[in-house]
Amino acid sequence: MNEPVLVEVKNLKRYFPVNTGFLRTTPLKAVDDVSFTIGRGETLGLVGESGCGKSTVGRTILHLYKPTAGEVIFDGKTVGPGTIKEFRRRAQIVFQDPYSSLNPRLTVADIVGEPLDVNKLCKTRKERTERVRELLATVGISSEQMTRYAHEFSGGQRQRIGIARALASRPEFIVCDEPVSALDVSIQAQVVNMFEDLQSQFGLSYLFIAHDLSVVKHISSRIAVMYLGHIVEIAGANELYRHAVHPYTVSLLSAVPVPDPERARASHRIVLEGDVPSPLHMPSGCPFRTRCSRATAKCAESCPQLEEVAPGHMAACLEL
């Protein structure tokens, strides 16, 4: 990675207290000691199964959830009480569900204009309208549709409105939390292309969270794989897909159904046994050991740390 670092996440933790008895709570370790960096203009993909903590990572970075421990350094400054306001303007989020993430009582112009008001970015009413029109044009929505409400749009169009809103405050970093998962295949490609265009137009950095591995591979320059709150492997996109070393990544990649009948017949799926353990009752040592075919007694003792296996390629496994 050659780009200067824009976002640095250091030992980030986020625990949620869960009531497990009368006057007793147990911490649910949704994100447990996660560190990585994102360069300027770079896209870091974050993949993992539901409940692995990938969305929590995104939201904790933005301080939508208060981190339990660890810090986020944005453009050289630690995000904290003094810098949060500025950070919130420069870092934005696009949510997964284009239906519940837009206020049904606001017109599109007001939805997109809200970040402008909050950050006091426009001095006059006219300037605001002009900026909203420009933002909507950027995402391919015509200005005649400005006075409509969210329910009048299709899923793909709503997602475009969500993106326009994220762009309103001229951010440098956007957390994309499964932004195309709810969309149909033919629309998905439109939105993915738009993310790429916006990135080159505005020099944006993305944290692209998704569970669809082919989409993540397509859009990301580097990819981090999460399992039960931990990052188990992180590498360049092509490197990860060709030379995955962590047993979880290997089985995850082999489980992706390929749209090619001949290869599907020839390929061998590595089917993982069982389900993901509950994050309330984490296995000791390596979180993946309960489903891992290579697990040994050693794996139950200590939690493996990320170690470099090739330049720019880190994995957390004791059996490597």
Binding site: V185, S186, Q188, N238, S254, P257, V258, V271, L272
Partner: protein, 356 residues
Amino acid sequence: MAMLEVKDLHTSFFTPAGEVKAVNGISFNLDSGKVLGIVGESGSGKSVTAYSILQILSHPGRIVSGSIKFRGQELVGAGEEEMRKIRGNKISIIFQDPMTSLNPVYTVGNQLMEAILLHTDRNKEQARARAMEMLELVGINEPDKRLRQYPYELSGGMRQRVMIAMALACEPDILIADEPTTALDVTIQAQILELMQQLQKKLGMAIIMITHDLGVIASLCDEVIVMYAGSVCERGTADEIFYHPAHEYTKGLMRSIPSIDDDEHERLVPILGTPIDLLNMPEGCPFAPRCDNAMKVCLTGRAKEVWVGRDHLSACWMNVKDGSERGLVQTDDDGQIVAIDLEGTLDAAVKGGQAQ
């Protein structure tokens, strides 16, 4: 005779805003022991096709015309009594969302035994034994304990296994799987697909696999139907559809999915525009407004299905045009297409399409 014959099925929803033609003339045959995939985007009518076969359409949906024959027995217009003997017994279904399709107030055992008690003459004891056997078959350990549990006590993958066990308990001839893995994670999806493949081989039933995921289709299906806006775009063997797509929509769909193997970063080629409003269906091809190669004829009339290869039919005017350029279209005196065969293996004549 095929086990299931669907002919020119039309199913509509009569909403206050007007008639929504959810399924607009779909025909297919399903032989025993085959896996048929129906692929399409949301609103393409793939689930409604399945619900029409079982006649579990919700109000205000209704089969308008067409015929569905199961082993020669006409199901359209069949009474509720007759349908009950078929549902869950001869044809059963797995729904998309295992979270909501199990009843939360009954135990897993109770729900599993219901179908067995209803359709077979087993007594309660035997039904319980059968339920346990089914849970073992779908790879659930401690079946005895699971039978006494409620759905909320199981994980998503486990619930989908229970759904499959329930659907297979009476050894149906046809299993309809309506997006069975869409709500599941990739590794759990792999488990369920593996399981369905094994069970299909073991029990020899036919499967209708409904999904929007071309990857799932490729790994499971012998034959594929591609649907768009209630109509069939093309159908044929999986290899034909994936390696020689003939309909412009299928071609677009294939181009718009990112490949997991390419190291080169290639820009995706999306299908432009938005899905069609089913309330205001155009006269011509429903895909024409989004099609790059749309011709004048596409806006005025629908292309009939024509043979574009062995075991491969497509309903696209481009195929007709292509065929006439290569001298493969034969028309009768009224300009009706009589036959087209791009592979030179003339094995059927399709009537009704209007040549340009």
